[in-house]
């Protein structure tokens, strides 16, 4: 279900014909909005944002219900004392970490290599990375189930553990991770950096690890955070392969204890929100510099 292109919509341009700046900024022109414009804007914001906020508020209200109509955090406390939930969280986190590592190991050298050495393959790699978008998770799991059966039979303890989810999660993550890392690579002249490093005597592994990677830190971080968010939210494949990841556990719990399941859902949501703010902060530094450079000379 998750279908988020990772292009940062957040970066606000220096100038758009639509934007109205508050007077205090002291930077650009201030355009007066017509009253119709202002009124419709507010109406839209109230209605649409209201629709979006309502379920979140409902979750908060629902999960903080105590006994006899009081407010309490008991549902949240119950998360910690629920072994299935703890297991689910742990499993998902383990899979998430391994997915991030696997994804980085697979993508960073490959993408860097196509930029520096084999530009002709850039299109191919891009296509392959975006291909998962055209193959719904439900379809993927149908095709991959036989492979997982095989793994369960022939790879012993590992083959049957949830950690094998890493293999398919990396695929799910590819489109978003690709976009994030690609943005990072485009922002820096990787080819010249590599040339410089090589001319000074560095070998390829060193060039990639010590020269390229630090310069695309932002893209790598963004890709990693998106990967974590995706893995934590993944349900389709986990459930149909019968692994007890976080979402599966929440689902099963929902039948029995609605309050705790809503509480943990809200907590997961907040966690993802914090993670995304982290990328925004981290990426904001370089984006602000870029935006400043692109300001037209007045």
């Amino acid at each position: 279900m998750t279908f988020t292109p990772s292009t940062p919509a957040g970066a606000a341009p220096a100038d758009t014909p639509l934007a109205v700046r508050s007077t205090g900024s002291g930077r650009g022109p201030r355009r007066r909005r017509s009253r119709f414009h202002s009124a419709s804007r507010i109406a839209i914001l109230v209605i649409v944002l209201g629709y979006l906020i309502l379920p979140l508020f409902a979750m908060l209200e629902f999960s903080t219900r105590g006994d006899y109509g009081s407010r309490s955090l008991q549902s949240y406390a119950a998360i910690l004392s629920n072994p299935n939930l703890i297991d689910g969280i742990a499993t998902s986190l383990e899979v998430a970490v391994l997915t991030v590592l696997g994804m980085l190991l697979l993508l960073v050298p490959t993408m860097t290599w196509t930029v520096i050495r084999v530009p002709r393959m850039r299109r191919v790699v891009e296509f392959l990375c975006l291909l998962p978008l055209a193959i719904p998770a439900i379809v993927l799991v149908v095709g991959i189930a036989p492979m997982y059966r095989w793994m369960g039979q022939h790879l012993g303890a590992f083959g049957g553990s949830p950690l094998t989810l890493v293999f398919v999660d990396i695929i799910l993550v590819l489109p978003f991770a690709y976009r994030a890392i690609d943005a990072g690579l485009r922002a820096v002249d990787v080819a010249t950096l590599a040339d410089a490093a090589r001319s000074l005597g560095a070998g390829w592994p060193r060039t990639i690890l010590q020269v390229i990677v630090p310069n695309i830190r932002g893209g790598i971080l963004a890709a990693s955070v998106l990967a974590v968010a995706l893995v934590l939210g993944e349900y389709t494949i986990s459930s149909l392969l019968s692994f007890n990841t976080l979402q599966v556990v929440i689902f099963l719990l929902g039948r029995r204890d609605a309050f705790v399941s809503v509480a943990v859902s809200l907590a997961a949501l907040m966690f993802a929100f914090v993670l995304l703010i982290v990328i925004a902060r981290f990426g904001a530094g370089s984006r602000a510099e870029q935006a400043a450079e692109e300001e037209p000379v007045r």
Binding site: A19, G143, A191, I250, L276
Partner: protein
Amino acid sequence: MAGAKAFEPASPDPPVAGPAMRGAGARRSSGFRDYLALVPFHAYVALFLILPTLIVAVGALTTAEGQTTLSNVQTMFTDQVFIDAFMRSLQLALITAIAGAILGGLLTWAVATGDPNGALRTLVVAASGVLAQFGGVMLAFAFLATFGFNALVPNIFKNVLHVNVMTDPSWLYGLTGLAAVYTYFQIPLMLIVFLPALDGLRQEWYDASASLGGSSWSFWRHVGGPILAPSFLGALLLLFTNAFSAYATAAALVSQGAPIITLQISNALTSEIVLGRENVGKALALGMIVVVGLVMTLYALIQRRASRWVR
């Protein structure tokens, strides 16, 4: 303006050389060894993406005994259950894509016309990033907490407004509920995909239109609208694919039957009721690939067209 110059003012320091050419310089031709480094990636994708897809495609065309057949695919078109499921999935995807595009588009406009550095924009964009990734199960529970049994909205109607409305949450478990929930995650997705397009409208175009005598309406009708149309359409297609492929939400909400195609596929995968029906699930999956593939190809074509203008 012919004629000799009366004087030539001493020009200032020569202009600084332009930024270093990117990607220029000797790119030694790629040898065999260079391609070798790309093998791990391709092998991985081949194994975990291409192969499963092929398994689905081949399986769809194979009987339980292993013979090639079109019967599975035929079943898709003859069995009323499957036809209905496909239709419902398509309808659901289309309706929620349009609803999401319109509501999300309006929201995007409202955000884009605000302060680019303001709190509203930052928060809404960040929140959209999260909500669009909001796992289907959690979202389903969120709606249950809102409209379900003993949930917020019915309680407000009952206890605060003393009106007996929305006490029966069964609508949530059917197509109406799915539509409501799907629209919920379509809106933030629309914002994320469409906002860059709105931001890409250049100040200069608006000013030029005004200076030539155009009103706000003229600008939108002749310049803004046509420029945004491809992006809007592309976003709509993306939303369609998103809803069509969704599984988790439906799995969490729908308790009886399998009204949409993704649920049909999961049923086929998990139930061993009818021998030989297993490959029908693969046929359904193949059908999904075809639909999504078509839509994504259309999307790619539109994107290419749109980016050509607005370089």
